[in-house]
């Protein structure tokens, strides 16, 4: 009797899961059409990371990743507000994308080989080059991550952070105690309460979370960066048109910065004689149409959210509360890694 129930329960679970995936499998081929039909973009966002994706008291989302969602919405609809956000904890994010709950995942997600190859996902671009760091209380007197032998470390589970942490301490032959939480909120609260000596996440996240500490000045970020964290938007595998759209959204935002096309001057730039600007803004050629959009897709994006540099400065740059330097994320011709393939 009981074993029959067990089989039935398992079967039902597998069946429901199968049905869910089946529905998404069918629509995966035409995410763009689906989005156009719905009239909005469903974007997988962070549950709350200052500067990257965070809702305010009125439910308005702002942040670097959020602006990428808005840029895609602007490219498709000409309206950056046609986005709905699904806040996702790190451990839930891939399942949400796989099952079709969100159209695109832009949630400071590290691109790794296993994520790209075994999860049924694709990562068409890297919009933020990051690395993992540590934050500790100043009064511990620690100046380097190498001195953390024996420490308790708070981290968010289901992240590359959790794995790098294990690698780093194993590689340096140091002991530690890991305390893992489901959301960044719970993780940081536990650190702030004193459960852990150190808090670890991507360096960008450290600066963002420090703002939430009960006394931000009591904490310092250690100089070591222990990993490479290329963060980028993720899409479902098997819809090349949609992956192209996301990739070229990122490239176009970079090229706009490179050519000096900004939110303020985009209308004058339409009259520019520079052939590169003409192609970017759709005055010449029909590159937008090749990804299922209109010729003026970049004009719509830049009018909506600005170019890459503007998005960076507004949300996380020196002018924002996070005060992060461009560093690796400067354009290639300014000493950084952001290098876009040309539009031609």
């Amino acid at each position: 009797m009981t074993s029959k129930f067990a089989t039935l329960a398992l079967g039902l679970a597998v069946g429901l899961a199968g049905v869910g995936l089946g529905a998404s499998g069918a629509s995966a081929q035409a995410t763009l059409n689906n989005v156009k039909q719905k009239g909005f973009l469903q974007c997988g966002a962070n549950t709350g990371l200052a500067g990257f994706g965070v809702p305010d008291a009125q439910g308005n989302w702002t942040g670097f990743d959020v602006d990428y969602c808005r840029a895609i919405a602007a490219a498709i609809f000409g309206d950056p507000t046609k986005v709905r956000f699904t806040p996702l904890a790190a451990k839930d994010r891939f399942t949400a994308l796989q099952s079709g709950e969100v159209d695109v995942l832009i949630r400071n997600t590290t691109v790794t080989m296993s994520r790209d190859t075994t999860l049924g996902l694709d990562f068409p671009a890297v919009n933020y080059y990051d690395g993992q760091g540590f934050m500790v209380r100043k009064k511990l007197g620690v100046a380097s991550a190498k001195e953390l032998n024996g420490a308790s470390v708070c981290t968010q589970q289901g992240t590359t952070t959790e794995l790098n942490l294990a690698d780093y301490f194993r590689g340096n032959n140091m002991k530690y105690e890991v305390v893992a939480f489901a959301t960044s909120d719970e993780t940081f609260k536990a650190y702030d309460t004193g459960r852990c000596d150190a808090f670890t996440t991507d360096a960008s996240g450290l600066y963002a979370e420090r703002l939430r500490a009960s006394a931000p000045d009591d904490h310092i970020v250690l100089p070591e960066i222990i990993s490479k964290e290329p963060l980028g938007p993720g899409v479902r595998q098997g819809d090349p048109q949609w992956a192209d759209l996301v990739r070229w959204t990122h490239n176009a935002l970079l090229i706009a910065e490179e050519l000096g096309v900004t939110k303020a001057n985009v209308d004058q730039m339409l009259k520019s004689d520079n052939p590169e600007v003409k192609r970017l803004l759709g005055v010449e050629g029909s590159f937008g149409e090749s990804i299922g959009l209109t010729k003026d897709w970049v004009v719509r994006m830049v009018k909506g959210v600005g170019n890459y540099g503007e998005i960076f400065e507004r949300n996380v740059g020196e002018g924002s509360r996070l005060k992060i330097k461009r560093g690796l994320n400067a354009l290639w011709n300014k000493g950084g890694l952001q290098f876009a393939a040309p539009i031609r």
Binding site: L10, A151, A190
Partner: protein, 399 residues
Amino acid sequence: MSSIARAPQPAKASFVNDPKVRGIVYQIVLVAVIVGLVWMAASNAIENLRAAKIASGFGFLNSTSGFDVSQTLIPYSATSTYGAAFIVGLLNTLLVAAIGVVLATFLGFLIGIARLSSNWIVARVATAYVELIRNLPLLLQLLFWYIAVLRSLPEPRNSLGVGTSVFLNNRGLYIPRPVFAPDAWIVLAAFALGVVAAIGYAVRAHRRQAATGQQSPVISASIGFVVGLPLLAWAVLALVAANPISFDLPIKGTFNLRGGLQVFPELVALTLGLVIYTAAFIAEIVRAGILAVSKGQTEAAHALGIKPGHTLRLVVIPQAMRVIIPPLTSQYLNLTKNSSLAVVIGYPDLVQVFMGTVLNQTGQAIECVAMTMAVYLTISIATASFMNWYNARKALVER
């Protein structure tokens, strides 16, 4: 003389109308439909996973996990497999469930009996406890206990010390950890022997009392067997050979204490929350069970001159157990399943480790969810079967 007229045989009923045959056919059809549905669902899921290029199968259990877990009851490190991580989570769930069930039963009985106390203050305090605790969501209580535990304890550098080897701080409780030498099995064997001897003595004492009415000092004798025998073995070994059991004492390190046995605050908070919450429900079940026993039983016991304590223990509770056990089983199952709320306070139980980190790292949601469900189902069915067996033993035997 005359032959007895045979009753006319009823015409053989049509095969189609035979209720027995019909019943069998219906059952076969039902089973076929269920099997068909399950098969369809499973093949559909496999097909879709393949189409979406998502890895499937249970091969991932043999891959290296690459992440660490704080509380592990078996040796586990980042170089262990996902399968080992599954066992780690499973054991942590069983640990908190086992501790929780035992403590919640004690506390529940205590509060339940206290609610019926003739002492006004005791009864009111017990009532207040039940009404307050069972009306607040468990999740809220867990967070409260976690934050309360963390905030009220000092940081490691200012640990509260009891003697020189027991420390308490916001990283947990540190106690000396026994280190067993190869000879230590003799001490453990002596302990096992002591337990067996104590049980044997108790059974004999019970028979003797039933036969002659004479009582034996069961409690002191049991303590003597269970504690005395291993201590004796230890002392003898220490004298003739080497000390079989030494202790690894916690000492202060740069950040935390090193060495010793560490009880994590997550475990304490989770156990505390589950026990206090479940005990409120058990208390009500116990109260209902006791009230279900006719007052005449108590009066009769008093009339025979049996002391109130003995009346409760020997007359009322045994009869109340028949009413208490079935709903008590449900509470045990609830406690076990509620332990999965550990995920919010960072206790590495099965859901946190396996459905959290492992599922995310491997992306194999169906396999992970199915395995986790199978585990909870197995634990629950095992608990329920045991309680049903116990209930059958305690139930009124009708002659």
